[in-house]
Amino acid sequence: MAKQNIELIVNGDRYEVAVEPNRMLVDVLREDLGLTGTKIGCAQGDCGACTVIMDGVSISSCLTLAVEAHQRDLTTIEGLATSPQELHPIQESFVQHGAVQCGYCTPGMVMSAKHLLDNNPKPSEQEIRQGLSGNLCRCTGYNKIVEAIGAAAGKMASSAKEG
């Protein structure tokens, strides 16, 4: 199978990679770019562990061909923190609220939370739960996750006001 040269724009960085057309975006992110924050759970679009943001919307990178992400704008969990010292408010809130148990679903949960808050900065609890409906936590630690996202929304809204 002939490889195709593609350009991936991930977290603002440009990568040129040669990939077989049948490779999934999540595999290229993890194996070729070394961005292993994005996880593989079910590999069929049910669990949300592989959630990334492409052109502003959350998608399952396990169901996206890498060649289809050519020159698209991608954000992965590695792109959220503004600096190595400072986490994104959603990540910070997950830490403070104990919203991480085994941690495997966490990157996907955070990316879905980011997509939710980008589109709805003041979600109700029900809207948070609906926004996470494509992300499974096998530890079943949903309540802490929902609380963390609600608190992050509040913080982000007040810092936006101050800013």
Binding site: M1, A43, G45, S58, S60, L63, T64, L65, S133, G134
Partner: protein
């Protein structure tokens, strides 16, 4: 299971899509959201040698509404985009509901309404509301274009009248007259992520005296294809609906259904729920229609 090998083509125009479909006729599939196709391919259930992606075709994602003409949903328009469109929410609430609750956020961001129809699952959530709104598909092939009524589109589970070499360019939904109401309700065990066990969609248009001018009822997940319920529609047309008539129409919906027992529900439960959901759908549609403008 490992992904089989294939080539991906990324044309920029519908003409190029059709050329590629023709050139690789023996083993080709259209790719858009990929949320059904790529899973089937990884399971070995589909093994096309060529995938023609619609994701870079200009203009195919457009969703537009014009009074009189109705709604046009581009062949590559995402489910979530359709669900968020203001006119869809206002005038076609059954479709908006389907597009807001089916599958998951990520899948709705990736998958398309056209793909949901073309995959032709008996449970396809957008099918029942689109049947209730009297939708048609615009199918194009090299040198031709035809309009297919959605009611004539499905022929069996996973099967449609679409010919090899044809693609769905758009979905056309007629405009909604004043004094219309509509609704789609679905039941599933978890309410999110999982496939509907029963879905019922309805559309009612009333005259100035409150008589039904037009009624359409459609069911999902209770037959080999999504289907309309002509007998139930005729019970209501020309009448002033009341509780008794609504119950009779719902019973006709049950008679139109041909459900099976499967892991999602028993046939008996599905029949019972068609009755309940059809009554609720008609009651809500009637309330909305009486409210004047949809």
């Amino acid at each position: 299971m490992a992904m089989p090998e294939f080539q991906v083509h990324q044309p920029k125009t519908v003409e190029d899509v059709l050329d590629l479909l023709g050139r690789h006729r023996s083993s080709v599939k259209l790719l858009c959201g990929g949320t059904d196709l790529l899973i089937k391919m990884r399971a070995g259930a589909q093994t096309p040698e060529h995938l023609v992606s619609l994701n870079r075709v200009a203009g195919l994602k457009t969703i537009s509404y014009a009074g009189g003409d109705g709604l046009v949903i581009g062949g590559a328009a995402r489910i979530s985009q359709v669900g968020k469109t203001a006119e869809v929410r206002r005038l076609y609430p059954g479709l908006a509901h389907a597009c807001s609750v089916m599958a998951t956020v990520q899948i709705r961001n990736m998958g398309t309404v056209a793909g949901n129809l073309v995959n032709a699952a008996p449970s396809a959530d957008t099918a029942a509301p689109l049947l209730a709104y009297g939708a048609s598909l615009v199918a194009v092939e090299r040198g031709g274009r035809r309009q297919i009524k959605l009611v004539d589109f499905f022929t069996g589970p996973g099967l449609t009248v679409l010919e090899p070499g044809e693609m769905v360019e758009a979905i056309r939904v007629p405009d909604v007259s004043p004094r219309s109401g509509s609704c789609y309700l679905r039941l599933s065990a978890r309410s999110k992520v999982d496939i509907a066990a029963v879905g019922v969609a309805g559309f009612l248009n009333l005259d100035l005296e409150g008589k039904v001018i037009r009624c359409r009822l459609a069911l999902g997940s209770v037959a080999p294809t999504p289907l309309r319920c002509p007998e139930a529609e005729q019970i209501l047309e020309g009448q002033t609906p009341d509780e008794k008539l609504i119950a009779q129409a719902a019973a006709a919906c049950v008679r139109a259904s041909r459900p099976i027992d499967d892991l999602r529900a028993t046939a008996a439960y599905r029949r019972a729920m068609v009755q309940v959901l059809a009554q609720r759908v008609l009651t809500q549609s009637l309330d909305m229609a009486k409210g004047g403008t949809p």
